[in-house]
Symmetry: C2
Subunit: 142 residues, 2 copies
DNA sequence: TTCGTTGCAAAAGGTTTGCATACCA
DNA sequence: TGGTATGCAAACCTTTTGCAACGAA
């Protein structure tokens, strides 16, 4: 999919380069945190980039499969996507109120997961870790 | 909700004791692992315990809120429920192929989560950890 | 008798898919 | 031109809800 230049960084993925995909990718990067497909869609339409909802979903899927986006689920089961600049596995803590997300140091968890993988007898172990709370700002606001 | 005796253990929750709730609770316990509401529903109907799907959902919700069930999400976003004998917070590793679940030692993760809570500036931090892989059996079967 | 609980059907959401059309390469 | 991507609407699925009827206490 699309190869675009954004803020000096070049994002390359297989497939065809279409305006829609550029829009979706840019909007995702601009979001600077986790967003739902629906939100992204609404935002794009409002900005005058008439993209179809299905295209948003399809693009996000491609990005995710290509390792360029992280997925997390909010408490309602809705999927939230976030652009991933690095290719490394990353964990975040998410504010339940405003959605602010911050990467967290998770070496300990990685180590633990690896350990469980070793001693559980399970193979091809994957892990999902989701942290949520109230960010400093929201914490103050009550 | 219901107070029933099962295999020597007494499960007590506030509310009214109805046959439906007993059936759902028993079916959940019998599942001995994670099951979806839909599966539980189908199973109950087949066993001749004509319970409504909404009742299954409502009962599972009550159980979860009462701390007597754990929830996990499978890769499709479907919620899986598991009866929780102890009241403690527990983590599992789930087989992606057969669904087998095994509790894992997660003190390290708990400690890490607490640590992140402390240093991230976030309050009321909650965490979700989901591990999946191929269990020894499925691993062998290919 | 009371009011929590049930069951059905309909509604809600989010996400996916079928298919004809548009368009990148 | 060939094959991929798009857009719309319909389909899907799981989960929730409205409401009248039921039944545990």
């Amino acid at each position: 999919m699309t190869a675009i230049r954004y803020d000096g960084e070049v994002v390359v993925l297989g497939g065809r380069r279409t305006p829609q995909r550029k829009w979706v990718l840019n909007a995702l990067i601009d979001s600077n945190g986790f967003v739902s497909a629906q939100t992204l869609y609404t935002r794009l339409v409002q900005l005058g980039s008439p993209v179809g909802l299905s295209t948003v979903y399809r693009t996000l899927r491609v990005l995710t499969e290509g390792g360029r986006a992280d997925i997390v689920r909010d408490s309602n089961g809705e999927r939230l996507f976030r652009y991933r600049p690095s290719v490394e596995h990353q964990h975040y803590i998410l504010c339940r109120r405003c959605g602010l997300s911050t990467a967290v140091e998770a070496t300990a968890v990685e180590a633990w997961a690896k350990n469980v993988a070793t001693f559980s007898g399970f193979a091809e172990v994957e892990h999902t870790v989701e942290l949520s709370g109230l960010c400093p700002q929201c914490r103050v606001r009550g």
